[in-house]
Symmetry: C2
Subunit: 388 residues, 2 copies
Amino acid sequence: MENKDFDIAAFGGKRNEDIILPINSSLSVTLHQDQLKTTTTVATSRSFQEDRIWLNGKEEDITHPRLQSCLREIRRLARKRRNDGDSGVDSASLSHKVHICSVNNFPTAAGLASSAAGFACLVYSLARVFGVEGELSGIARQGSGSACRSMYGGFVQWIMGNKEDGKDSLAQQVEPETHWPELRILVLVASAERKPVGSTSGMQTSVKTSCLLKHRAESVVPGRMVEMTEAIRKKDFAAFAELTMKDSNQFHATCLDTYPPIFYLNHVSQQIISLVHRYNKHYGETRVAYTFDAGPNAVIFTLQQHVPEFVHMVQYFFPPETNGADFIKGLPVNCASLSEELKQGIGLEPMPKGINYIISTKAGPGPRVVEDPTQHLLLSDGFPKKTM
Amino acid sequence: MENKDFDIAAFGGKRNEDIILPINSSLSVTLHQDQLKTTTTVATSRSFQEDRIWLNGKEEDITHPRLQSCLREIRRLARKRRNDGDSGVDSASLSHKVHICSVNNFPTAAGLASSAAGFACLVYSLARVFGVEGELSGIARQGSGSACRSMYGGFVQWIMGNKEDGKDSLAQQVEPETHWPELRILVLVASAERKPVGSTSGMQTSVKTSCLLKHRAESVVPGRMVEMTEAIRKKDFAAFAELTMKDSNQFHATCLDTYPPIFYLNHVSQQIISLVHRYNKHYGETRVAYTFDAGPNAVIFTLQQHVPEFVHMVQYFFPPETNGADFIKGLPVNCASLSEELKQGIGLEPMPKGINYIISTKAGPGPRVVEDPTQHLLLSDGFPKKTM
């Protein structure tokens, strides 16, 4: 079982696509798995004919190079430990094939970092099955770059490292999920459509064609990483929020500087951005921040006390299709009324059905073992449950 | 009478807002006044009580600092020339007040560079009235930066200059309008709404807050100016087109890197960008380029032979409200049929009413005197015609 994360500083491209080395360090917050999670079951058996994988109910190609990297690296680590005499390693399973079954409780490939959660969960699960412990973020990184950060809870940085073999390109927890309990995260799901450009191919084109991306990675991000770590440590919401917004905007600026340009932000995203800036301006303080990954969905950061009003404002400016039923998922949100002064101060035209729903959540822990066997996704024969 | 221009390389901010000095050089093409023009009449009379101005039928505030700069500079130049013994200067008019009347035949403040055309036309007209000749782009620049380029026809660069007083920040013709007769320009008017952020206040915020803009001005633009000048000189359409698109995208990237971010491109603009890239990809060559100023309207560059097909493709992917009547304005466009292969190759969902109309035009000459007195905008009493 695993959770997902959201970038809050320093999105960027990769300097090495094969072993996934980034062009800059980055920082994210791991979301709570009570609201957003990937669940993965891994089984090994002498009776399995080959490695197989089922994702969200559908069998996928296990020969995908990134899946193979993770499988190979975990098995290599297990063999190394067995040869070193580590009694925790399950020697029998090392010669067995694996069956992997994984499901997300959020839409795949809609810019909700599903591959990060998926690979982190896969690597964690494989490691448990083969009895491997210790630093695993370097392996998760080879599945999906940002998956390395999802190996930890709370606020996590991915240190880009300098080595050519990537051995020092690892994730590190900045602060645990308990550090800033007032911080709340709202995922505004703008669209469940698949994004037009996959984030990997998009970023490859950006690294090749955007001179602004290069400048950003070399000259802007290092300073922002320091400022962001400091803002988190001090729980300085205004500093945290402004850095988050600026960094999200700069990432999307480099997408636009890519040739041909990449647009992840649509008109709904633009309206959310306006809404946040106008809301903050109305109160004369930075109460809310947005960040956008490779898709139109917004991730909003705010403090607990502002959640009810902000959520109801979103509902007012993006009137849902049904009359609000199921519009708010996740952590309960208290009722709030919006003053006429606020509505008029914002001065935006409502955009009906622009947002499908909101997931209310907070920072969460790293990967966890699902102890309840009824939650496992593979039956005792090693094949997925029919209910999926 | 005057024409308007469109940036094709190196949009940017200003290093000095008072006398309008840019942070980088830039290059534009002046559009033909048979299609897009500003017409201005200036009259002086002993009987006028004060300087007055009417723009598009409405009296405006003559005390606007930029209008005052132009008036002051032209009068100063006229006095200087009179004192130097230049017989061309109309000494009498120097002591008179002026009445100015100006109309655009295109929507104001919709990202169609109306202030550039307007100030170039104003300065040219004032100069004629006061009998001033010679280099006037430095004065037009103080009205609206890019107006300096509109003082010349064809392909024009605005050389940023180095002096603090701006004396060397002037426009210079790169090639005349007759240089590349096959080049065609299509203005795709996406919306006649006023843009949400004025380009001046937007650019001021960008200069203050975008670190990508600074990098672009210092490290990207100088090289691109050289390449662009070369592409124009050689009439190398592919090189010209790619530089134009990359530069437009990078300008809008710096708008997004501004805090709070500025969005000039809307969903129609994004669709036009996709359409152009898919069209070029379909043919395996760069046949069409786009550029966007501070608004959602696209300016398309292509060669004469591709105009009919491209225009009809735009009409297919942006079905007009009425059945095409008045959709194409300006230079006549021949009929063309679209192959099913092309329509399917593009693979975009048509966006009804996304584009109001297309203005078909080409590069044009610099400011011209309107000889026909029936075209003048002020009556013999010095007040605007009632028909306006």
